[in-house]
């Protein structure tokens, strides 16, 4: 496939990927805030004041988080929304990597694979530390 076609696919599909995940994240975050405002406004103010003193909820197992989302827990819904948002740039790099593999553009396959590997190693090392 000519390079111009590869560039066209990148330019057309990258915004679609960014926008799709961004919309999902915003809908989840918006829903979380509406749930909080409707059912737990005092809890929100309590958590806000706790954050001012540096007290955060801390590490929660992902499985537990999904259980709490099913129960309609506003805090869990907000956390899931933030997780979805942070996946936007990583999904974009993964998409570029797959496109370059398909197009056999090996220079950019190596470059994007390197970025992906660096991000995964960094995230794993950071979350373990």
């Amino acid at each position: 496939m000519p390079k111009r076609e590869e560039d066209r696919i990148l330019r057309e599909w990258t915004p679609i990927i960014l926008r799709s995940i961004l919309i999902v994240a915003m809908v989840v975050l918006g829903a979380g805030l509406v749930l909080t405002y409707t059912f737990a406004p005092d809890y929100y103010v309590e958590r806000y004041q706790a954050a001012q003193h540096g007290h955060l909820i801390g590490k929660e197992p992902v499985g537990l988080l999904f259980d709490r989302v099913r129960q309609g827990n506003p805090h869990a819904v907000l956390t899931i929304g933030l997780f979805v948002l942070t996946l936007v740039p990583l999904a974009r790099v993964a998409f570029c990597f797959m496109l370059f593999v398909r197009e056999r553009d090996y220079t950019y396959v190596i470059l994007t694979a390197y970025v992906l590997a660096g991000l995964i190693v960094g995230a794993l090392a950071g979350s373990a530390g």
């Binding site: 960014l18 961004l22 909820i57 933030l82 470059l111 950071g126």
Partner: protein, 275 residues
């Protein structure tokens, strides 16, 4: 609760707007604003800031990529350098005294401000260097009257070296280093300033995204603050991405210099106050 939400949303919309047009994310405003006005500790502010940088990057990049302002290949090449710097920086954290880095960063911002003030317009090159040509980094951007202008790229290794430093600073100080990224592309690689800004915006999301995932996985993000900030910053970034194409390069340079001076002041303040 509503009052807190409105305050956070207003703050975030402004940060996202300026972050998008300058290519610096929104963290440079979110951190001091949360520390000074919302009385949040630094750790909470940094977590929200990382989320805000991801949101600014994603929100602004939708339009910047679609309209051709972001140079995707330059971003992919330079991301290798920033990721390298960020990983090295993460391992070096604690070895190099933070105060030294913050002062060094403040000095670099002042120097960048000086370079930006002394530069006029864009240097559009018609001949790229061999490495840039091999990597097909040249691009086209519309001018204010809508005519397409072809630009070439030079000094990829030197730009990459500065990107390693930018990544190093991100890993060590937990900042986006967007200012260094814009400087490397604008001043060293001779990309048009708007392309540099849009491409920096695109790139900072990747490193901030990785950092934000770590913060979230550790439970170090105050969701009550980060959620409204993310929504507000995205709205601001979407608006900023509509405005950038219509801005004059000289106006953008003035905005950029003001922000560089603010960053220098913030870093100097962080270093001297020991926060």
């Amino acid at each position: 609760m509503l009052e807190i939400l409105i305050d956070l949303l207003a703050l975030a919309v402004g940060a996202g707007f300026i972050g998008a047009i300058s290519g610096l994310g929104g963290g440079v405003f979110i951190v001091p604003a949360l520390v000074i006005f919302a009385h949040m500790p630094m750790k909470v502010a940094v977590g929200a800031s990382l989320i805000s940088v991801v949101a600014t990057s994603a929100g602004a990049s939708v339009a910047f990529v679609r309209d051709g302002w972001t140079n995707l290949k330059v971003a992919m090449v330079l991301e290798c350098a920033t990721v390298t710097g960020a990983v090295i920086g993460a391992y070096l954290a604690g070895v190099v005294p933070t105060v030294v880095l913050e002062l060094l960063f403040a000095a670099m911002m002042l120097q960048s401000a000086y370079f930006t003030v002394t530069k006029r317009g864009d240097d559009i090159l018609t001949k790229g260097d061999p490495l840039a040509e091999r990597l097909e980094l040249a691009g086209e951007v519309p001018d204010l009257s809508g005519n397409l202008i072809h630009y070439e790229v030079v000094n990829v290794p030197q730009g990459g070296a500065l990107m390693v430093v930018a990544g190093l600073m991100s890993g060590l100080l937990g900042i986006g280093s967007g200012a260094l990224k814009v400087m490397a592309m604008d001043y060293i690689m001779h990309l048009p300033l708007k392309v540099s800004s849009a491409t920096s915006n695109f790139m900072i999301g990747v490193t901030a995204g990785a950092g934000a995932l770590v913060f979230l996985a550790r439970g170090d993000v105050a969701t009550t603050i980060a959620a409204p900030v993310a929504i507000g910053v995205t709205a601001g970034a979407l608006a900023g991405s509509r405005v950038l194409p219509h801005l004059k390069v000289e106006s953008l340079r003035i905005v950029f210099v003001i922000i560089l001076l603010l960053i220098a002041a913030e870093m100097g303040w962080r270093a001297l106050s020991g926060i």
